[in-house]
């Protein structure tokens, strides 16, 4: 597969900012923290037989933009983001877009669904790899740990879970609200391959994804909520608030031009 170009990534970031600015909706910070990984995964790694499940459904705008960058969602469709009558809501829609199979949004669901999908592929002897993106706050959900136990026990070597560890959740930092730090050490107690990388470093993600997989793989992406936008970076507001016009103009400069 062709490598994701830096220009492609910049275009996606700009389009993501535009979507949120035009729709006036939030959840931009968590979309910016995982966009780099999602873009690389879709452009360089996912095969037509593979599945991606976005467990942190509130970051769906990053997924919409990624699919837009692949020509699978039109620019006109993106303009409808979160407007009345749109297919592109603030959380993934059910049964509306080919590459979005599950309507997530309530946290703690995606890992289990991904585990079932991966197990289904094993039962059907399908050569499919399943990828699931969770948030870090989502690991406060008991169901996520249920899924981890299950996926390890079933030796789901066709499943990769990416954790967007941006350190902020809805009403505080993960360390303030219900700390699981160090998350990598906690998860490493299970029978899974756990790696922790810079989630904004394409080469680090390439390396992590291209390693041979013999059991459940978990890649913890150390990321920045609201990455590359000074008004949002590591700010709780980035979970909720859209950009003002002034912030939007500055943000476009900050993420650069292709």
């Amino acid at each position: 597969m062709p490598r994701l170009s830096p220009d492609g990534l910049v275009s996606a970031r700009r389009r993501l900012l535009q979507m949120h600015y035009e729709s006036g909706v939030g959840h931009l910070g968590g979309a910016l923290s995982c966009l780099d990984a999602m873009m690389l995964l879709f452009h360089e790694h996912l095969r037509p037989t593979d599945d991606f499940i976005l467990s942190k459904g509130h970051a769906v705008s990053a997924l919409y933009v990624t699919l837009w960058s692949l020509g699978e969602i039109s620019d006109d469709d993106l303009r409808t983001f979160c407007h009345d009558g749109t297919l592109l809501g603030a959380h993934p829609p059910a049964n509306a877009i080919d590459r979005i199979r599950f309507a997530t949004g309530s946290l703690g669901h995606g890992f289990s669904i991904a585990a079932g999908t991966a197990l289904g592929c094993q039962i059907l002897e399908q050569d499919s790899r399943i990828y699931c993106m969770t948030s870090d706050g989502e690991w406060q959900e008991g169901s996520t740990w249920e899924a981890l136990i299950f996926a390890c026990h079933r030796q789901l070597d066709n499943l990769t879970v990416l954790i967007d560890e941006n350190g902020l959740q809805a009403f505080g930092s993960t360390s303030e609200v219900a700390s699981m730090a160090p998350l990598a050490a906690r998860i490493s107690g299970f029978d899974a391959d756990v790696r922790e990388i810079d989630g904004h470093d394409p080469d680090a993600l390439r390396d992590a994804l291209n390693r041979p997989q013999k059991r459940l793989r978990i890649i913890i992406l150390r990321t920045i909520k609201g990455a590359r936008v000074a008004a949002l970076e590591n700010r709780l507001e980035s979970h909720y608030l859209p950009l003002t016009t002034e912030q939007y103009v500055v943000a476009l400069d900050e993420v650069g031009r292709p």
Partner: protein
């Protein structure tokens, strides 16, 4: 009933898409199915939320997915997973709840399923089957398999008298004919009335109907039932389920929307999760007025 279901599923193991998930239950029951299915028999452990999410993933891959546990563990603990992961996507997962109603008697309210089909039928794509007789299981399981939307099977205990030959499965069955009021009973609770009602003289004997499929917009009552209701004027809906959201409310809505004239409508239902003291299924049925003596007494008063 669960033994029959196990037999049915063992017969279906030629279907390479059949997968069965249990929430760590089935001791001295499911071992033959486990042996027959091999890797397609999945013990999800004591983790019901994950169990349902996994079932959604399996079903989305096109697998014929069955999930089994004690009834409340199937629908209550993982309700959000049922709603979001299964129902939102219309996935044809079969949820099997054993011990519907007060089936687990003395085990207490944590193990009772008194609002199961009421809760699940608030989800528009769901159907529920409540088989009455053991012989219903093969038909109901086949119907569930053929259904392209989610299904809930509430299993209970067939308590029919010895030598009673049950009629073939229908969603609505007229079990006993008489000249008295009309009883519409959900599931195997109907079998507990067969002996006592049969002893009543014809003119006072209630018409006993057994209902096995809900909601009524998918399995409406037949015309013969509605004709009897209009003739008798009195109908008693009986279910081992709480009042709200159950069959009684659905039946009354059906009468109202269909213009069926009912002079007297009574609803007998499971009164409570909380009796303070524990007891068997029959003990708890008596406390709710669902036992044969209470029901027959009520029919005399109507």
């Amino acid at each position: 009933m669960r033994e029959r279901l196990c037999e049915y599923l063992i017969e279906q193991t030629d279907d390479p898409t059949l997968v069965f998930i249990t929430g760590d239950l089935g001791f001295r029951l499911l071992e033959p199915l486990r042996d027959a299915l091999g890797a397609r028999f999945i013990n999800a452990g004591v983790a019901e939320q994950n169990m349902i999410g996994v079932a959604a993933g399996l079903s989305a891959k096109g697998l014929n997915t069955w999930v089994y546990s004690i009834a409340p563990f199937v629908y209550a603990r993982p309700f959000e997973q049922i709603r979001n992961d299964i129902a939102f996507h219309g996935l044809p997962v079969k949820l099997v709840g054993n011990g519907g109603g007060y089936g687990y008697g003395v085990h207490g309210p944590s193990h009772h399923a008194l609002e199961d089909y009421g809760v699940l039928l608030t989800l528009p794509t769901f159907s529920a089957y409540i088989p009455v007789f053991d012989e219903d299981i093969f038909t109901v399981a086949r119907l569930a398999t053929e259904t392209t939307t989610p299904v809930y099977l509430r299993l209970g205990r067939d308590e029919r008298p010895a030598n009673y030959a049950p009629p073939e499965y229908e969603p609505w069955r007229h079990l006993i004919e008489g000249g008295g009021p009309v009883l519409a009973v959900v599931g195997p609770l109907a079998t507990t009335y067969l002996s006592d009602i049969a002893k009543i003289s014809y003119t006072r004997r209630p018409n006993l109907w057994a209902v096995s499929a809900l909601p009524l917009e998918k399995s409406p009552p037949p015309m013969t039932f509605l004709d009897q209701v209009e003739l008798a004027g009195t109908v008693i809906a009986i279910e081992e389920h709480v009042q709200r959201g159950g069959f009684g409310a659905d039946l009354l809505r059906h009468f109202t929307e269909s213009g069926v004239a009912v002079k007297t409508f009574r609803h007998l239902y499971a009164r409570s999760h909380d009796y303070g003291r524990y007891g068997s299924q029959n003990h708890l049925r008596r406390l709710s007025g669902l036992d044969p003596a209470s029901v027959i007494g009520l029919t005399r008063d109507c």
